[in-house]
């Protein structure tokens, strides 16, 4: 206990003086969150839309109504002539002008394709793309409803097999808000902070030869490992809090589920991530190698195998299985469930168990390696 405390206190004192590590633990995650958060929020809401209804029928009105009954589009203007469209877009009064041409209702009634024109301000390419994507999806849905209703009004039972159109917007396939990406981002930032910081901890002492001085003392491997990890647990929890706070202020991210469960998940995550850092630290000979190894083993799985960019379900089976061996996948799954869906322990325990297992494995190797060097 005494020896563990000595190491713990020393580690905190060193951390306090080490601007670089502190920066890595706090500043970098915050900066990255701000950066990626904005870059990834191509999800567009409340797009101002001007409407030009040339058809002016009940079908066209119903179609428009259904289009604006969601948070993505706001009807801000009603135009009378097509010539006005350019000016409206140019002045930025609307980002999108929707034109329902004459004959919309007739065509629908005849079962033909009814065209709707969308004039988009393409200055912001990614949000323009997203807007068109939403529009596409909503139009398809709305059209279908109008279609069915029209058919029903005509007294015919809808026996046409309806083909559902599922639009895919890359990066946000489930058409959910940018909040969907935030858990992936949190996981990446926490991985970076936790793994890289600890991966340097033992190897730094090896490089500076202070490890030798500890190894000739009666300190036990367990005391050394605990004393070196616990400060980072505190730091990790603080970083997590900071990220959540920032996510809330800057992106309006809220936590749907329980904070206790989120805290538990964070602790389990830290156990495995810090263990991974320690393992890297105990098998490398120089800080440089440890840093590189930690960066690769952190960033790649965070991006590619976590579901942040590529949905796990759409990956080849091999990659799906492969991803099970990396922390981010489980952390992201659990975070999404808790933060977005408000899931309880019963739903997320497999992710926690997986992280626990990985953590035991990593810490076990770290302990074994440290014991061997003693």
């Amino acid at each position: 206990m005494q020896r563990f405390l000595a190491i713990f206190v020393k580690e905190i004192r060193q951390l306090r003086r080490d601007r670089l590590s502190l920066g890595m633990l706090f500043l970098v995650p915050v900066l990255l969150l701000a950066l990626y958060g904005y870059a990834l929020s191509f999800d567009v809401k409340h797009i101002p839309v001007a409407v030009l209804d040339e058809d002016a029928t009940r079908a066209s009105r119903e179609f428009l109504e259904s289009l604006f009954s969601n948070p993505y589009f706001d009807r801000v203007l009603t135009l009378d002539r097509r010539a006005e469209a350019d000016a409206v877009l140019d002045r930025g009064r609307a980002r999108l002008v929707l034109v329902i041409p004459r004959g919309f209702a007739q065509r629908l009634a005849r079962g033909e394709t009814a065209e709707v024109q969308a004039l988009v301000d393409g200055a912001d390419a990614s949000s323009a793309g997203a807007a068109v994507g939403y529009l596409d999806a909503l139009a398809a849905r709305a059209t279908r409803r109008v279609q069915i209703e029209t058919i029903q009004r005509a007294g015919i039972a809808p026996s046409l097999p309806l083909v559902a159109l599922v639009p895919r917007i890359w990066f946000n396939p489930d058409q959910e808000s940018s909040h969907f990406l935030i858990p992936g981002l949190i996981s990446m930032l926490m991985m970076l902070a936790a793994v890289i910081a600890t991966s340097l901890s033992i190897v730094r002492e090896r490089e500076r030869r202070t490890l030798e001085q500890i190894l000739v003392s009666p300190v036990r491997p367990m005391e050394l490992i605990l004393g070196k990890t616990l400060p980072y647990v505190l730091v990790g929890v603080a970083t997590m809090g900071l990220i959540l706070l920032l996510g809330r202020i800057a992106f309006g991210v809220t936590v749907a589920g329980s904070w206790w469960l989120l805290s538990l998940t964070t602790l389990v995550f830290l156990f495995s991530a810090l263990g991974m850092g320690l393992m890297i630290s105990s098998i490398t000979r120089s800080q440089q190698v440890a840093f590189q190894l930690a960066t690769i083993l952190t960033l790649l799985p965070s991006f590619l195998l976590s579901g942040l960019i590529f949905p796990i379900r759409s990956m080849p089976v091999f990659h799906q299985v492969f991803s099970l061996f990396f922390i981010p996948r489980h952390f992201v799954t659990a975070l999404r469930a808790i933060m977005l869906k408000g899931a309880g322990f019963a739903e997320i325990w497999p992710s926690l168990a997986a992280m626990l297992a990985l953590g035991l494995f990593f810490n076990g190797i770290a302990l074994w390696r440290t014991r061997r060097s003693m």
């Binding site: 005494q2 000595a6 190491i7 020393k10 080490d18 500076r208 001085q213 000739v216 009666p218 003693m374």
Partner: protein, 308 residues
Amino acid sequence: MIVARELTCVFGSFTAVDHVSFAVARGEIFGFLGPNGAGKSTTIRMLCGLLRPTSGTARVAGYDTGREPECVRERIGYMSQKFSLYRDLSVRENLAFFGGVYGLTGARLQARREAVVGMAGLAGMIDRITGTLSGALQQRLALGCAILHEPSILFLDEPTSGVDPLSRRTFWDLIQGLAAKGVTVLVTTHFLDEAEFCQRLAFIHAGRLVALGTPADVRRESVQEDLFEVALETLAGAREKLQGLADVLAVSFFGPRLHVFCRSGCYDSHTLGRALAARGLATQHVARVPVRLEDVFIRLVQRQPLNR
């Protein structure tokens, strides 16, 4: 207190320490000499339990370093060749850390810290960051951290390298004070004047123990050759000519003079002077001189075949 038996350490195909045996008694200052790469640090690391011997055993403070490393660790202090305290911590924080690591707390820690600070002459610098201290102070602090828990055995690996002569003297006063209190000290050094402070010496070369005993024993026994100091008019080419002489075993420069090792009993100062004159070397002065440790060092290193 320290017993090494046939200690051997092999790195791959390279034998760093080759069947080294010796024993050190309580309160003794035992010096380890040898050229760079001789295996001194490796031997110390095996004795401290930092390195597992490839073969052979070591007992320190009565415990086997392989089987009871914990018991050994509590009783030894170690100062490694390279400075190994936390440079980014203050003197006080370093002492607190090493105290804590050895289980010192409260009043005991404070008493020991004050004793060590007083001994190392660090009073008034307790809140300085260690990395900003002078080399001599850093070394004394390292010694302080190594003796904080009052170990009965101290391993010092080149404790005085890179320190000025006066500070070295101070440091050795500290070591001798500790030994007088019954602490056993095993110290490596490249300074042969320091070797004279040791009660006994071990000379290691190429991983093998080549001489062992008191400084006087080592001087007398390990080099059973006659040593002459020769002053010549000109040194140019002299060494080569001397080495060609019968029964001359080695020649080394000694300031402006030469030290000539001759097979025992083959020359006296007159006969050597005549032999030199016959070779066309005008001598100013030839005298038989006692062998000093430095001569021993040079002869031992030259004589041993380097079979690595």
